[in-house]
């Protein structure tokens, strides 16, 4: 066993939350190098990217030294402030109607489920909604979206499996225009960002909306799974290059993963988090709240 045995022992001690770790950290360390190294590790273990963790900790260290403080509460608050500021760096776009929102992301992050919840959200704001089943690739994806559309009581536009997703969007947008629908939510097939042909397909879908419905506000949201690690930044970067993202929906926040990578997305890429998914029911979606997220982080 050797190494594996040792690691198993080590992991038994990781069950505590960040705040417990912080308390333990303050109890045993003075504000020295070791303290800041561990602070960095705490952030990394919540999936904050290594680079962002280094930067944030450096900032905390500088301010702490500048203000000559050695106080636990001060450093915690400082860290919270910095993280919250990072999240607020990218402002959340305000919705203007009519509005088309296309949801993109890698496979299995929860795009279809998110659309069901977002549809419900807009309905509760008294908006008329149409969902477009433009995931024509995954088996039974449109059946899945139909169930969500039924739950949210909204109209769905769908074609046969294997048909051109851009054609679905065309139909959805044309009919929404004719009916004066407020919001069109476009579901797309999950695609790994490294697949160039699939990303090109997405660009085409992007162009269809711009061309057919120029008067509408057109937003593109990347759906990210909170359990994802450092790869989230790579996903966001490539999807942003392809279709110019306007926001992020962070899903599966009801698990134990913290989604710490969002600090890098807001800070480095300037993409705001718009919604957070916290469960499997239609109403399990909340507009993202930076302060609450940071609080939940500790």
């Amino acid at each position: 066993m050797g190494l594996i045995g040792k690691i198993k022992d080590a992991l038994k001690k990781t069950k505590e939350g960040v705040s417990t770790k912080m308390r333990l950290l303050f109890a045993k360390n003075k504000l020295g190098d070791e303290f800041y190294d561990e602070l960095e590790e705490i952030l990394i273990s919540s999936d904050v990217s290594v680079r962002t963790a280094e930067e944030v900790v450096e900032q905390v260290r500088e301010e702490a030294i500048g203000n000559k403080v050695k106080d636990e509460r001060f450093v915690t608050d400082l860290l919270k402030d910095i993280l919250e500021d990072t999240l607020n760096e990218a402002p959340v776009p305000a919705f203007r109607y009519p509005c088309v929102i296309m949801f993109v992301g890698v496979n299995g992050v929860g795009k279809t489920t998110t659309i069901g919840k977002v549809a419900h959200y807009f309905v509760s704001q008294n908006k008329s909604v149409t969902v477009a089943a433009a995931d024509t690739f995954r088996a039974a994806a449109s059946d899945q979206l139909s169930v969500w559309a039924e739950r949210a009581k909204v109209r769905i536009v769908k074609h046969e499996e294997g048909s051109d997703p851009s054609a679905v969007i065309f139909d959805a947008v044309s009919s929404a225009k004719a009916r004066g629908t407020d919001v069109v939510l476009v579901d797309t097939a999950g695609r790994l960002h490294v697949k160039e042909n699939l990303m090109n397909e997405l660009k085409k879908m992007d162009r269809v909306v711009g061309r057919e419905f120029p008067e509408a506000q057109f937003l593109k949201f990347l759906v990210l799974d909170a359990t994802t690690g450092q790869n989230a930044v790579s996903q966001a970067r490539v999807f942003d290059e392809a279709v110019d993202l306007d926001g992020i929906v962070l899903t599966k926040l009801d698990g134990t993963a913290k989604g710490g990578f969002v600090f890098s997305l807001c800070g480095e890429l300037g993409i705001p988090v718009v919604f957070a998914g916290v469960g499997e029911k239609t109403e399990d979606l909340e507009p993202f709240d930076a302060e609450q997220f940071v609080e939940g982080f500790f």
Partner: protein, 439 residues
């Protein structure tokens, strides 16, 4: 595209620095290990796992072994490599077969890990091994999940057993009885994605296990999972006794460090990896190869194995003979291209070659469409033209171009490539004569 390419680049970079410095000092090893640590963390290796790994490797590297060695950098690579292998387990784990059929495989994991698609992939793999698999739809929560499994089953040409939204343990029991009656030897149960902290749903899995005799409990994990992978794996293992792990979506650019962590925390083997959206995109997991991939040493072994599967022994012999007497025709050229396609395209092939990580091969460079076009061109030729390309004159080229929907330039290009390949073969023949085609 290449698995772990970024991590291997990173380590390559670190070790090229080490090589330049000649003999290693303790301080230099520590410097290098700081970099290794960052590389591992950026690859999503759990921080505790990474720290322990660093500690162990340093202990071995900073000793006399390295200092006395003639090539210290090589030795460090070997130690890092050995430790990576030790962490990921050794040897290739196969699916267990129950002595009392049917073998029951229970799939579990978080939402969106790729369980349903994987069921189809496993079914194809089992059929290839001569088994008779039955898929069972026990995801009664996600809308249209049963429908999805039925479509996947249809594509794999495997029967799907479903009882609508009936309680999963009951469905599982009935499915196993049905399998016994119908002579299915392997039952693969698809379950709903669930959070490891969802007590009610975790209980449901425990009940399925009580209801039927499960041979394998396979935890499906998204290769892009971050630090939380250890918690997920540990909880699933505690609750339902995981027997193996399948890592999905490794065709992305994730460095897949989660697999190191999962192995470390569960001690259970990683049995397969999912490498694409096609139902045939499932590969066995080889820790040793994965480790050498991490270190950028390439994966020649894996390449050979894939080639063997794509080209039958007989075809290979025939090809060798043709090489020897230089009677290689455009038909043979086509066979080669098709073999290439079976191996997952040129991109997948390139990623397995040593040093190819550095080439930064983009998917578009040698994409499948090009292979398709080449195929179309050759298929638009007459038998005579394929055997004797010299007779293809301008008018023939125009006809072939029209027939294949390509252009004369593309045909010229193909003929030139073919000539070069033939030339290359003559050179190989002029050599030892023992050289085998790479595929």
């Amino acid at each position: 595209m290449a698995l772990f390419s970024s991590l291997s680049e990173r380590l390559n970079h670190i070790f090229s620095k080490l090589t330049k410095r000649g003999k290693l000092t303790e301080l230099e090893i520590r410097t290098a290990m700081r970099e290794v640590r960052i590389a591992l963390l950026e690859a999503d290796v759990n921080i505790k796992v990474a720290k322990q790994f660093i500690a162990d490797v340093s202990e071995k590297a900073v000793g006399q072994q390295v200092l006395e060695s003639l090539n210290p950098a090589q030795q460090v690579i070997k130690i890092v490599n050995d430790e990576l292998i030790a962490l990921m387990g050794s040897g290739n784990a196969k699916l267990e077969v129950s002595p009392k059929p049917p073998t029951v495989v229970l799939m579990c994991g978080l939402q969106g890990a790729g369980k349903t698609t994987l069921c189809g992939k496993l079914a194809i793999l089992l059929k290839k091994q001569g088994k008779r698999p039955l898929l069972v739809a026990c995801d009664v929560y996600r809308p249209a999940a049963i429908e999805q499994l039925k479509v996947v089953g249809g594509k794999a040409d495997v029967e799907v057993f479903e009882k609508g939204v009936q309680a999963p343990p009951k469905t599982a029991k009935q499915a196993v009885d049905y399998a016994k009656k119908m002579g299915y030897d392997t039952v693969v149960i698809d379950t709903a994605g669930r959070l490891h902290i969802d007590d009610a749903l975790m209980k449901e899995l425990e009940e399925i296990k009580k209801e039927v005799e499960v041979t394998e409990v396979l935890l499906t994990v998204d290769a892009m999972t971050g630090q939380d992978a250890v918690n997920v794996a540990e909880t699933f293992n505690e609750r339902v006794g995981v027997t193996g792990v399948i890592l999905t979506k490794l065709d992305g650019d994730t460095r897949g460090g989660a697999c190191l962590s999962i192995k470390a925390v569960t001690g259970k083997p990683i049995k397969f990896i999912g490498v694409g959206e096609k139902l045939t995109d499932l590969e066995p997991f080889y820790p040793d190869r994965m480790a050498s991939r991490i270190l950028g040493m390439g994966d020649v072994l894996s390449l050979i194995e894939k080639a063997q599967e794509a080209v039958t022994e007989q075809q290979a012999k025939e090809m060798e003979r043709k090489m020897r007497d230089a009677s290689f025709t455009l038909d043979d050229y086509l066979t080669q291209f098709e073999a290439l396609k079976k191996m997952g395209g040129a991109g997948a092939l390139m990623s397995m070659l040593p040093g190819a990580g550095k080439l930064k091969l983009k998917e578009g460079d040698l994409d499948e469409r090009k292979i398709e076009r080449t195929k179309a061109i050759i298929l638009s030729m007459t038998r005579k033209e394929r055997e004797n390309p010299q007779i293809i004159n301008a008018s023939r080229k125009r006809r072939i171009a029209a027939g294949s929907g390509t252009s004369v330039q593309e045909i010229n290009q193909l003929l030139k490539q073919f000539d070069q390949t033939k030339q290359l073969m003559k050179q190989m023949k002029g050599g030892k004569g023992k050289m085998r085609l790479p595929f």
